[in-house]
């Protein structure tokens, strides 16, 4: 049996959650003040996901910009974050780029596209 300690981000109270687990199975969640805390804990220990944001180089910008900010078009597994970050290094995209343009397809094999979050002329 193992215990995972988490801080709930549901509200400013920031309850300290303890999840007791037997292998992959959740035995008990304690420390939460409301139901949202338990739901958060269950998701965090079984399938934690994040939107990942970064910025990549551009070339040919008439506005003189050097970077375009990007994000994953949807959540990716938290454990993939560093891999996605590494695969963005060295990437350079031509201008103009518009918000929502796909900058990298299926980034790091996550099945999720990396899209631009700013218009760069």
């Amino acid at each position: 049996m193992k215990t995972v300690n988490l801080t709930c981000i549901g509200c400013p109270l920031g309850c300290q959650l303890e999840v007791m687990m037997e292998g992959e199975k959740i035995l008990m969640v304690t420390g939460n003040t409301c139901q949202r805390g338990e739901a958060y804990a269950r998701k965090e220990v079984t399938d934690p996901t994040r939107i990942m944001t970064s910025s990549v180089r551009v070339y040919g910008s008439v506005a003189g910009e050097r970077m375009v900010p990007v994000k994953t078009a949807s959540d990716i597994p938290k454990g993939k974050t560093m891999e996605v970050a590494a695969s963005l290094r060295g990437v350079s995209v031509p201008c103009p780029v518009n918000i929502g343009d796909v900058v990298i397809r299926n980034v790091a094999g996550t099945g999720v596209d990396m899209i631009a979050t700013k218009n760069v002329l």
Partner: protein, 432 residues
Amino acid sequence: MEQKAYHLIIIGGGPAGLSAAVAAYDAGERSILILERDTRLGGILNQCIHNGFGLHTFQEELTGPEYAQRFIDQVKDRNIDYKLDTMVLSISKGEGNAKQVVAVNEADGLMQLTADALVLAMGCRERSRGALNIPGFRPAGIFSAGTAQRLVNIEGYLPGRRVVILGSGDIGLIMARRMTLEGAKVLVCAELMPYSGGLKRNIVQCLDDFDIPLKLSHTVVRIEGKERVEAVVIAEVGPDRKPIKGTEERYECDTLLLSVGLLPENELTIGLEADMSRVTNGPLVNESLETSIPGVFAAGNVLHVHDLVDYVSEEAHLAGESAAAYIASLEAGNGPVPHAGVLITFSGGVRYTVPATADVSRIEKWLKIRYRVGDVMTNRVVSLYLNGNRVLTKKRRVMAPGEMEELVLLKKQVEEYPVVESMEIRIEEDKA
């Protein structure tokens, strides 16, 4: 010198200025000019590339640049005038109700502009190392978190590889994650106070996610290195916030990021001789977000530092509407409407309120009072008293200095009080 007159000049083209412009336009005002110092509209949001913006305003999570673009589009759709790369040198009272704005840019040179009303939306800047007292040399490799953010996200340049962060403000937390993703190693985040000034979500997703330790009640006591930072020594502090001998820990690193607070940028406001708050370092405003100078309004981080841009937009919307109403009143020949506000007093741990005064007869639908507390508090009841009568209560399980609080007083709640002589916010222990 170029001379031009507008009804409304907005100083700053960040989230506050953009929202104020749109609101003033939608209230019927057409003679509006936005002056922006940077080469683009959007202000600090341009470098805040992380997501989490817009949940209140757009019911979706946007990144900073996306959030800014929504407002930039609204400004452009309305053909509202703006000037970029334009520095405002001074603002002052002119003849009658006029306000003078002296500004400069390369294309127009020096400009003497007049306006009936101004919205101050200059934002804030970071406290620098000068505001702290860290012994040691002044080597390269010490950056404010916001400077590092600009370098990484806009310039595309990683300012260091092994990083210590002092202060747990949101920008520092965000940069801990950002630099980690760019391949740097963030060793520790030290916070002087026994609690973090950042949002819980940022502590979890920027520090915990990457196993970066947060050391509360710790500070930097020494910086080593002459040319470049070579190491940073941090130590625990006691309740007096003085370092405790024997608790020093040395971290070999090349970079120290400072995330030790933000200060409203009010040189222009002070030049105008508007009454200022010693707590927020912003101007004192009434329920219409008007400063002590009639026709001069303020919103956003220039007024008080916010944690959520959504609240900036909302506040600036009110400032823009108020400015339009002020101008309409001048146009109708009524002149400025005299203000009959009372000071909002407070006790029990409230540090300040925005607005600072309120004329309840001017409340349209509701009055939103924003405030911050000075310490972490649990199980409290916040009450609002008019003429000594409790008209509003709100239970708060927890309040922290890092999270702005608000009370909403509805018009119907004040209607029983045709004459308001006092308005007080009290925080009390919740005994229930």
